[in-house]
Symmetry: C2
Amino acid sequence: MKNSVERELPENIMNKLNLRPYKSTEIGNPEIQRVAPKVRTTTGEGKLVESLEKVVKDNVKNGMTISFHHHFRNGDFVFNQVMRIIIDSGIKELTLAPSSLTGVMNNLVIEAIKKGTITAITSSGMRGELGEFVSHGGLKNPVVFRSHGGRARAIEEGAIKIDVAFLGVPNADKLGNANGMEGNAVFGSLGYALMDAQYANKVVLLTDNLVPYPNTPASIKQTQVDYVVKVDKVGDPDKIGSGATRFTKDPKELKIAKTVNKVIVNSPYFKNGFSFQTGSGGAALAVTRYLRQSMIDNNIKASFALGGITKPTTDLLNEGLIAKVMDVQDFDKGAAESMHTNNKQQEIDASWYADPYNKGAMVDQLDVVILSALEIDTKFNVNVMSGSDGVIRGAVGGHQDAATAKLTIISAPLVRGRLATVVPDVTTVVTPGDSVDVLVTEVGIAINPKRKDLIAKLSKLPGVKIYSIEELQKMAAKLVGTPNPIEYTDKTVALVEYRDGTIIDAIKEVKK
Amino acid sequence: MKNSVERELPENIMNKLNLRPYKSTEIGNPEIQRVAPKVRTTTGEGKLVESLEKVVKDNVKNGMTISFHHHFRNGDFVFNQVMRIIIDSGIKELTLAPSSLTGVMNNLVIEAIKKGTITAITSSGMRGELGEFVSHGGLKNPVVFRSHGGRARAIEEGAIKIDVAFLGVPNADKLGNANGMEGNAVFGSLGYALMDAQYANKVVLLTDNLVPYPNTPASIKQTQVDYVVKVDKVGDPDKIGSGATRFTKDPKELKIAKTVNKVIVNSPYFKNGFSFQTGSGGAALAVTRYLRQSMIDNNIKASFALGGITKPTTDLLNEGLIAKVMDVQDFDKGAAESMHTNNKQQEIDASWYADPYNKGAMVDQLDVVILSALEIDTKFNVNVMSGSDGVIRGAVGGHQDAATAKLTIISAPLVRGRLATVVPDVTTVVTPGDSVDVLVTEVGIAINPKRKDLIAKLSKLPGVKIYSIEELQKMAAKLVGTPNPIEYTDKTVALVEYRDGTIIDAIKEVKK
């Protein structure tokens, strides 16, 4: 069985799980019956409990689906506390459904898989030893990778049914009113966790900072929370800021960023009221700096910036260059603090950010997005999930979601070390080429041939060479050679969903 | 069939509709499967439409349930615009399920009933000609009266399933992000309407103030909205402020207010961190003034004030005498404006305010509430729904909900004109005597005998006489005599739900 991006899908699994192959970026207007949680009525007495052990043992049962958020990133102290108890309790056959998995969780996830505690996983991504472990067939069932918007959709339509959500927060009151903005381990927007708070049957908050009742602003509300557990520490504030938010000094990255900015500025979308998402990562952050100057020079202001937010973006908000910041997560302390003080920085949940099956997501209104790539192929398909060795080491994140923008720019170097970024066929298709418009590399750009309008507009950018994507691919191959094909077994270790729930690719077990 | 407050309920209707009789104020910990709307997927294009007619005709079908909010109170221009179109379209057999009905809606509701457009109603209350019309058997099916918390519960558990909600807002962007705080016809908190926005299958916003996208803060979110219709005017700002918020100069009301304050101050609940709801109405507002002085004199600060909010309450917030205001509706412009500027004034929806079937409502945390009464009987049962002539002329509002407070004070004059307020049996039981603690009248107070603790604490209030409720009832009867019993037919014209959905009373057709 092949889907419309020519990926071979495992027919037995597709049929067994009643999955549909990916067809198109156009998802139409289906009518979706939303689901809702079971709610155990309480007046609120007795929510505040001392023992995390007791909460776990009373509520987590064999076969359940449990969830976590990843807003603490590598500063997360919550996941391991909870998972330790779950493993030691001898609970089995859990489905792990976090918003994503970060490196600090890897050891315990692997232990839990080995002991039969976790037998299924859905996540935005995985990296490091866990990626290696899964890629080599360590987990019985295929992992399901979903974008942030795809996870929101799956939760809202019932494909993910969370029994118990364990959510760490830097503050909460005794009934569970909480936000991500005050306390020691602050991360700003609770965007991804808001889905779990709204849809899980049981919601357990963990906090190291119990505040007087009633706590406001309440991003998570007492009406959603079953237990509040006081723990010593929920996170390490120094490790919450993503490593990918440093400001680059790499001349290649700076050149790419400059070119990206030229593409934006010369596109038909650079006008008053335009909107953009730059995301994190060295080159993408540098774009924000160049874009700022271009906005000032051309007296152009943006209606909103979207997505994972960084301080360079909130600086534009405070300068008045952006009217609103729509904030599903913050990548650094500066952005998190700004949400607290600037009421034009609106916290949004993952559904509002990107669920394609609702009454309009922010990404559907986006003019310009800059996204990264591990690989991009001659069909403009993008891989942000697996290495060129076939091993899982990435995350879908908001990639597929934001690629719905009117102008989707992939910024990537032609090669990385001895590996080509521009390839004949990506190892794993995460984002279909149909939603990608321009590839920007350090040697020049390639424009998706279906965007004849952009080809006309961007053909004479000063200092920017235009190539076909095939030319860029050949240039890359010439630099680094053609690698031997990866050897896989027949076992499917992961499925990658498109944002609408169709399967855009399958990942096979890599032979050792 | 009699319930536990000795009210005769119509057995045929109870059985047919599978209703349970009221038993107890204790509602336990039932597990409730929440419901969720059907969502028609869109990217957001085409939501902004010109013709209200077209939206109505495309979406409202025979037999559906439609809803409105009452935040505009008597300044509402939305209900009549929509209902005119619905009646003229010849649509039949609708259930009308607004958060409440205000006087300006009466004429069209009566016309819609007469023409068969509306055949069932659930509401918090009704007044004037509509109350007369229904009380004299004008509507085929019994009206179901629910408290604000009870409506939230009914929506969340699926007893009310709204097909189309028509929600007027003072601002909205083209995708439906909206709040109640900016524009011409501002009313502050959208608390009741947030239930409709979240749970209705189709949500139609009407606004006279289209603002740039994206509109923040978004109380109603684009993910909830199907259509945005621009109309000339959504409301008359001068009539939004409730008439019941005037500051009283009536010496009897002032005396009652002073006594209420003495009861509060001498109760065990008047200490740092206490919470209260005063509501609207002459005497209740005066209480806030006296309470303020007592808080200053005793150096006591409140953790939160709750409920329908008035400027005297937000003044206490700004003075630092209250830490937080939890705001489900605002009764005047001052309170509405304060929500916009003071981030300690948190907008809450009706579920958070008072749904008894969730994970903890604000009312469950309330220490002190002051409520009014049309009648209170010797069992402390309170009627805020029907006159002593049996005619419907009131609303449940948050009465039953807030009466769950630790100290529930009913403030009411002994008699009104030639009518007794304290009676042997109320005409309609809305709030059960079990949740009422103290009655305060101008002649003295009565304490519910089951509150022995309060009797001990309040026995020596300077200048306050303590009576049994029977003594107060006899005093009232002596002043105004004993009225002839009301003559009813056998027809049930309305059912009054307790907050948990059990039936606390039935209202019969009044003979002409």
